[in-house]
Amino acid sequence: MSLDLWSLYTLMLKSRLLEEAIARFWYDGLISGEMHLGTGEEAIIAGVVAHLRDGDAMALDHRGTSALLMRGVDPVLILRELLGYEDGLCGGRGGHMHLFSKEHLTASSGIVGAEGPTAVGFALSAQYLRPGAIATAFFGDGAMNQGMLMESINLASAWNLPVLFVCKDDGWAITTQSKQVTGGDLGERARGLGVPAVEVDGGDVSAVWEAAGRAIESARSGQGPTFLHARCVHFEGHFLGFQLIRMVRAPFREMPGITIPLTLSFLHSGGAALHERLEGLKAVLAAVLATLRDPRRDSANDPLRRARTTLQSDTARLEELEEQVEKELSNVLSTVLAGGPS
């Protein structure tokens, strides 16, 4: 298989536009609860999923919409699931964190790190029942500190299972900067368990595609698991309505509700000495400053924009493609909304 940037870009664009539509539904209140989008990590998903074929399995995290779409699940079913309709992908029972497609051997979980054991189990059954098939696990850097994921990497190593562990590293574990709660180097952890670790620029879809292709080929041919470590940014942070991003985007609306209780508490009688309180304040401010400086605010980190730069050499084809994808999504949205709740 040779690299086809046009088709990888198409996958990414479809996903981006779908997730932007999901965001609009969420802001309009048509979707309740949390909403974790994968905007910003599309290059990682596309670069891996483009290699998958019948019999391969995926274990997804709480951010799995994009992978399902790229794997070929009907976007109408996905959207109708998110809207809570009976004819959605999972009958309106699962929601975006719990999307399942038996046909694609794909399971999601809202429990951080649970993708590890799931991928290992899928790979184990592949060894018996689907020789040459593989399993992928998608998770974030926060999940790397979860015991069951570390145990799974070891298990895949010990049993020489065809697993691709994909760490989508955006530097944040929910609202905490990962470096503050993570010891050592993630690639070294995998290597320490006997699993080859590959570092790749998660914003470069071609690079991810190349690296994932080699790892998947190795797994298919019985050479065991690989750990793919890809850095990326999440434009919306952990989830839509992410408090830190709201604070940066709309400081005048968001700040009073946060700073007034914070100040009162800082000045409250009873508690630590002033220098300890200042250390506490510094820690709170550090998270805000990190968000302000966050690379997610820099559009140069957008994997779609990066792929587009290369494709712009053929402007006519690019425009035609984008128009086509937009038209497809518009048709999807009309179908989804025309149906109403079933």
Partner: protein, 336 residues
């Protein structure tokens, strides 16, 4: 008296206790953001963030409690206890028995629980019955800001492991964080009297294991905890206009159960309805029926609980979780 929101009351009581007792430390995921008000008052040595490693930090909390600290370990949600149940099931709950009563683990596990905002079946469970099944664990489920703060104080003074469950529908901050995300386009069935209310100027512990009547009534006794108490009160108000007098008993503590008060009330009314947001089978509702049977009380009995995995879709979820209509229908049937 002051007025406070639910979570504000818990944090306020926690702050009072931390100022009095330097052994109290807080840790858990995202604590620097979630408990930022306590962080700037007590500093990062006593309020710290943890990696997403529940098995490690909850287990560590248990042992830290055994060796002199009074840790409050916070989990993102009670559902995530599934990842680290060993620390509670096989360690915190067992220390006192294994040591012949010579050693205990005074750890407080604080975790949001409950549904009603569309987060699906892995993020909206109650699980207090599952936890209460294990001997050695104390399970608290407050339903008002005053009880939430008072029970937190009692939990911190208790000499064994306590699970303190904070219902997200009552919590202004959790509902904002997980439910609305700052939107004004979504609505939730928040019980006003549970979400905000009068609290004492200085916190005093609310005794563990003591139920309280939220409403007196002679025809039937409704027993509940958390949001269920408020749903029961809504139904009782409607029934009153129809000539049915329903009493509502708020257990406040799931384990140990206030068996005395339950039995006295049911012996008088002759009817028991359990409203329990937790799963129906093998849980609190069945336990309460056993309690009255063992006491030799004969009564009419029914329960309104959650019977299945909680569906994501809001309209399905609203039917699955105990609601006013289901409670009303159940009482009509029991009092026929």
């Amino acid at each position: 008296m002051r007025t406070m929101f639910f979570t504000q009351a818990i944090d306020d009581a926690l702050g009072q206790a931390m100022a009095d007792d330097p052994r109290i430390v807080l840790f858990g995921e995202d604590i620097p953001l979630l408990r930022r008000n306590l962080l700037v008052r007590f500093g990062p040595k006593r309020v710290r963030g943890a990696p997403i490693s529940e098995s490690a930090f909850l287990g560590a909390g248990v042992a830290a409690a055994m060796s002199g600290l009074r840790p409050v370990v916070e989990l993102y949600m009670v559902d995530f206890l599934g990842v680290c149940m060993d620390a509670l099931l096989n360690h915190a709950a067992k220390v006192e028995a294994f040591s012949g009563g010579k050693w205990t683990a005074p750890v407080v596990v604080r975790a949001p629980c409950g549904g009603g905002y569309g987060d699906g079946g892995q993020h909206e469970q109650s699980l207090w019955g599952w936890l209460a099944h294990v001997p050695g664990l104390t399970i608290l489920v407050p339903s008002t800001p005053a009880d939430a703060g008072g029970l937190m104080l009692a939990a911190l003074q208790h000499d064994g492991p306590v699970i303190f469950l904070e219902h997200k529908l009552l919590s202004e901050t959790w509902l904002e964080f997980l439910g609305s995300g700052g939107r004004r386009t979504v609505q939730f069935g928040v019980p006003a009297e549970g979400a905000k209310g009068a609290v004492p100027n200085k916190w005093e512990p609310v005794p563990i294991g003591k139920a309280v009547f939220r409403r007196e009534g002679s025809d039937i006794t409704i027993v509940s905890v958390g949001v269920g108490v408020h749903r029961a009160l809504e139904a009782a108000k409607i029934l009153e206009t129809e000539g049915i007098s329903a009493g509502v008993l708020d257990l406040r503590t799931v384990s140990p159960l206030d068996k005395t008060v339950v039995c006295e009330a049911v012996a008088k009314s002759g009817r028991l309805l359990v409203v329990d947001e937790d799963y129906e089978g093998f849980g609190l509702s069945g336990e309460l029926s056993a309690v009255v049977l063992e006491a030799g009380i004969s009564c009419k009995y029914a329960r309104v609980c959650t019977q299945t995995t909680i569906p994501y879709a809001r309209h399905l979820e609203d039917q699955i979780l105990p609601n006013k209509q289901r409670i009303y229908a159940s009482i009509r049937k029991l009092t026929q």
